[in-house]
Each structure stands twice: as structure tokens, then as C-alpha cells.
């Protein structure tokens, strides 16, 4: 490469990386900075934003920059509660995804090579159908007149428990989240489990380990990087999701995403909506950092 001249090489480098770089600087970095900037402004009287510089000296209303929205966020316990609830929903969904995905990923990884791609494809295919359709499917299944609802309530009444409404509840929200994001957990787990050397399990067996010990002392610790990356891939989108609670949840099932959506499309308080978005960004960054730290190589050998 050097032989053809370093200068030519540098020109090519910029020709190839320049256009996507510029596009993303304009349409990703700038908008994110604008969002940060918006969070420091006053809301306009009729939604949107108040001017930064007041047009006339006598003009009414607030202008300039402020930390007011951040004060609002930290002064009202309601927002902390919504964030806490979102974290609980995200953790629960992640945990259920992990429990459901692990056996599946393990089975695929231990199947014959020629079946593996097909089995992975079967996990991915439902993901290819529209996101809203997948949520809508659960509206049908959990609806009050559905076979499933009748069955559950039949069982409950046999035990003398009052009938429950499945749809529009936190339960429905979690089912929806797990359904939408399950493939995200299966794939990184499978990618990890596939690389395990079967000889390790044979060795453990020769040393007298039973099936459970072989799993707990060999497979599980080795799969931790896959567990972490799958968990992040589920946790982060669930944390910001508004459509699932919007469709499957009741009036009380408000998560961060719903709060943000309402600020932009309901009350039109852009500065506060931006503040909430910044807070969500910080939460996402913290989780990413945490998982990178947890998945660092040292903890694997220790595990």
C-alpha cells in the first residue's frame, strides 16, 4: 500500500470514510447536541421553545438558558419513580429473556452443524415481522375474550381466586417486551456457546462432575460474556420503549419512553422532554459502561 504513495492512500481514505462521517456528523451528532442545548432552554408559551434572546426589551416571558428543567426533574419524586419503574421492567424482561433464551441457545450450539443456521434463522424470522404486529398479537392473546384469558381465569376460579384482566397490565407489558426482544438474547448467547470446546465438558465428566456441575462450573462461567452482551441488547431498548406500554399497558404503566413521548407530542414541553432524553442517555451510557466492565476478561477467568 505504502508503495503507491502515502498521499494517494490518504486521499482514498477520506474519499471512503468522508461521506458517511459527514452524514452522521450532520444527522446524528448535531441533533444530539441540539437536544442537549434544548434541555437548557425555556419552553415557549404555545409549546416549542421560548426565544433565546428576547425580541424586544419589553417582551414578556422567559428567555435565555436555564437549568430549570433539571431542577424540575430532581425535585419531583414522580420522575424518579418512573425511572425506577422502567429499570424494574427492563431488569425483569431481561431476566425472563435470559431464562427463556439460554436453553434454546444451548440446544442450537450443541446441534449438528448443518441444522444450526436454520435454527438461528427460525429465531430471527419472527423478528422480521413488523414490530407493532408482534405487540398487536399479544392484544389478541391477552384480550378478555381470548382462549388464553378464559383458561387462566378458569384455573384461577378453580382455586377460588377472582378473575383477572391480563391485557392493559404490567404483566402484559413485560410479556410484550420479552416477546419483542427475545431474539436479541438468543443470538449473542448462541454466538458465545458455539465457540465452547466440547473437550472441556468431557474433561469435567472424566473428573466426575455431574450434568449440573458441568453446566455451573464450565458452561455458565464461559458464557458470561454472551450473557452480558445479550442482557445489554435487551435492557437498553426496553428502557426507552414507549410503544409496548402504550399498547399493552394500562393507564398507570408509564415508562420513561412514554414520559418523553408525551413531552413532545402531548404537552409540547420540548425543554423538559429533552432533559428526560438526556437522563435516559446517561442511564444507557452508565449501563453500557457497567456491562463492559463486568464482561472484562479478568472476571471470566475468575468466575
Amino acid at each position: 500500500m505504502i508503495r503507491n504513495g502515502a498521499k494517494e492512500n490518504r486521499v482514498t481514505k477520506w474519499l471512503v470514510s468522508g461521506p458517511p462521517l459527514v452524514f452522521l456528523l450532520v444527522f446524528f451528532v448535531t441533533p444530539s447536541l441540539i437536544m442537549l442545548f434544548t434541555s437548557l432552554r425555556f419552553p415557549g408559551e404555545f409549546g416549542g421553545l421560548a426565544p433565546i434572546i428576547s425580541p424586544t426589551e419589553a417582551a414578556q416571558g422567559e428567555h435565555g438558558l436555564t437549568l430549570e428543567t433539571y431542577q424540575l426533574f430532581f425535585s419531583d419524586i414522580l420522575y424518579a419513580e418512573v425511572f425506577l419503574k422502567s429499570f424494574i421492567v427492563a431488569s425483569t424482561s431481561t431476566l425472563i429473556c435470559l431464562i427463556m433464551a439460554y436453553p434454546l441457545a444451548l440446544l442450537i450450539a450443541r446441534s449438528e452443524k448443518r441444522f444450526r443456521n436454520l435454527m438461528v434463522l427460525l429465531v430471527v424470522l419472527p423478528f422480521a415481522s413488523n414490530f407493532l404486529i408482534r405487540i398487536y398479537a399479544w392484544m389478541i392473546i391477552l384480550g378478555p375474550e381470548s382462549v388464553f384469558s378464559h383458561f387462566i381465569n378458569g384455573v384461577l376460579s378453580a382455586f377460588g381466586v377472582a378473575p383477572v384482566t391480563l391485557l392493559f397490565s404490567p404483566f402484559a407489558v413485560i410479556v410484550g417486551m420479552v416477546y419483542v426482544y427475545l431474539p436479541f438474547m438468543v443470538l449473542p448467547l448462541y454466538t458465545n456457546l458455539e465457540k465452547h470446546d466440547p473437550a472441556l465438558l468431557d474433561a469435567a465428566q472424566d473428573l466426575g462432575a455431574n450434568a449440573w456441575q458441568r453446566f455451573w462450573h464450565v458452561t455458565w462461567p464461559l458464557s458470561l460474556p454472551g450473557v452480558f452482551s445479550g442482557s445489554v441488547l435487551v435492557f437498553i431498548p426496553v428502557l426507552g420503549m414507549f410503544a409496548v406500554p402504550d399498547i399493552l399497558g394500562g393507564t398507570g404503566d408509564i415508562l420513561i419512553g412514554n414520559l418523553i413521548k408525551d413531552q413532545f407530542l402531548g404537552t409540547r414541553d420540548w425543554p423538559f422532554g429533552s432533559t428526560l432524553s438526556i437522563m435516559l442517555t446517561l442511564a444507557v451510557l452508565a449501563i453500557t459502561a457497567l456491562s463492559t466492565w463486568l464482561a472484562r476478561p479478568a472476571s471470566i477467568t475468575k468466575g
Binding site: S17, P20, I108, A128, S129, I236, V284
Partner: protein, 261 residues
């Protein structure tokens, strides 16, 4: 060992059932002659007929197709460049910029772009803003597929071409492009699918003008659920499933890519 396999198989079978039963129900009820998604009455195609007489739905479908074609076209070109650049050069910022829009919750990109379009560009939201928004998050997916394909290749073929006197452009056209073509096409199909399916970012950047498919479906689900939703869902599923299967046939790297979204 054998007993454990039975446990493993049944747990996996349950997971597959969990993944597929809901979708099968949607498809089955789209042929059900009842306004309620509750019990099977008899076979009908009337929901499909109703769908094809629903003018707003047809406009929405047309708009979404236009958006998906434009966005996937732009994302494929920019994403392939990004994938090539990330494979060949040590770049600090490009990988972060490419992957961040894919990794973060969609609502953040939706909100940021909404504010940007309205405040900075003073744009009336509509098809154009949606195309830009979709391109932004699709670039990452194309880049991941293209880079994955390049990573598996022997660098020496590119060097050989250069040694024989080929210019960078000629090397690209005669060697690199034909080799990465399956990944590029797979990336284009993926972007198309992601664009036509995307609800969250579309919801924020669509404005009040033209109807688009995901938002139209959302309104139908929220306001009045009829099996027409099932019918449109079934057709959409057919379209995206075909695309994904073709994409996978072209480049198995797509299966790895899915882990990112």
C-alpha cells in the same frame, strides 16, 4: 446426558412456540369471518377486500415503500463506505458514529432528529425527514454486514491488484466490489425491511402530513381494532419474511447482524 437433552429440547421447543404462536394467530384471524379476534367462525377474504378498498391505507403503503427504497438506497451506499473504511483504516470516531444510532434506544434518535429538523433546518416534517432519519439508523446495519464480510477475506488479493498496477478505483471496481456484493445486497434488503417496519423513529419524524404504514397500523390498533389489521399484518409479514430469507441466503452474516438490533 440423555435426560438433560430432553429438558433442553422441551425448553427450546417452548421458546420456539412462544415465538411463533402469536404470529400464527394473527395470520389465522385475518381469514376469520368475525369482527372479534375471539373465536373462529368461518373462512373469508373480506378483510383483505376491505384493505384494498381502504384508500388511506394504500397511500400509506405507497409512501412507506417510497421511503424504504430511498432510505435503503442512501444507507447502502453510505453504509458500505463506512464498512469498507472501518475494515481498512484505523478510525477512531467513525465506528462510534456508525454504531451509536443502532445501539441506543430508538426514541432518542427520534427526539433528537425532531428537534434538529424543526429548529435548525426549519423543515416541514414529512417524507423527506423520514428518509433522512431512516438512513441514519440503517447505515450502521449495512456497515456491520459489509465489514463482517471483509473481515473474513484474505487481504493479499487487494495488495496483489495494487502491485500489478491497478489504481484504487480499479481495485475497488474489479476486486473489492464483486467480493462484497452479496453483503451489499443483503444490507440493502435489511435496510429496506428495517425502514418499512420502523415505528418509533417514524412516529417522531413524520409530522402531520402524509400517512405512513407503521403509524397507520398504530392508529388502527389504538383506535379501532378490526381484523383488517390482521390482513395488513399478514401481507407485511409475507413481504419482510421474503426479504430476510433472501438476505440470509445471500450472506449468512445477516444472522449475526441481528444481534445488534
Amino acid at each position: 446426558m440423555r435426560r438433560r437433552n430432553i429438558w433442553l429440547c422441551s425448553a427450546a421447543a417452548l421458546a420456539y412456540a412462544f415465538l411463533y404462536i402469536p404470529l400464527i394467530i394473527v395470520v389465522v384471524y385475518s381469514f376469520n369471518d368475525s369482527k372479534l379476534n375471539a373465536e373462529w367462525v368461518s373462512f373469508t377474504l373480506s378483510w383483505y377486500v376491505a384493505l384494498f378498498n381502504n384508500q388511506e391505507m394504500l397511500t400509506a403503503a405507497r409512501n412507506s415503500l417510497i421511503i424504504a427504497v430511498c432510505a435503503s438506497f442512501c444507507a447502502t451506499i453510505l453504509g458500505s463506505m463506512a464498512g469498507l473504511a472501518m475494515n481498512r483504516y484505523k478510525l477512531k470516531f467513525l465506528p462510534i458514529l456508525v454504531f451509536a444510532p443502532v445501539a441506543m434506544p430508538e426514541i432518542l434518535l427520534g427526539v433528537a432528529l425532531l428537534l434538529f429538523f424543526l429548529q435548525v433546518l426549519n423543515l416541514t416534517l414529512g417524507m423527506f425527514s423520514i428518509i433522512i432519519a431512516h438512513t441514519t439508523f440503517c447505515i450502521g446495519f449495512v456497515a456491520i454486514i459489509v465489514r463482517a464480510r471483509l473481515q473474513g477475506m484474505d487481504e493479499s488479493i487487494f495488495e496483489a491488484a495494487r502491485d500489478l498496477g491497478a489504481s484504487p478505483w480499479l481495485t475497488f471496481r474489479l476486486i473489492t466490489l464483486p467480493l462484497i456484493m452479496p453483503a451489499v445486497v443483503a444490507g440493502a434488503l435489511m435496510s429496506f425491511t428495517l425502514s418499512i417496519d420502523d415505528f418509533v423513529i417514524t412516529f417522531f419524524t413524520k409530522g402531520v402530513g402524509e400517512p405512513v404504514l407503521p403509524v397507520q397500523i398504530y392508529t388502527m390498533i389504538k383506535v379501532a381494532v378490526t381484523p383488517e389489521v390482521n390482513a395488513v399484518s399478514t401481507l407485511l409479514m409475507l413481504l419482510t419474511l421474503t426479504m430476510i430469507i433472501i438476505a440470509t441466503k445471500l450472506d449468512s452474516g445477516v444472522l449475526r447482524l441481528e444481534t445488534k438490533k
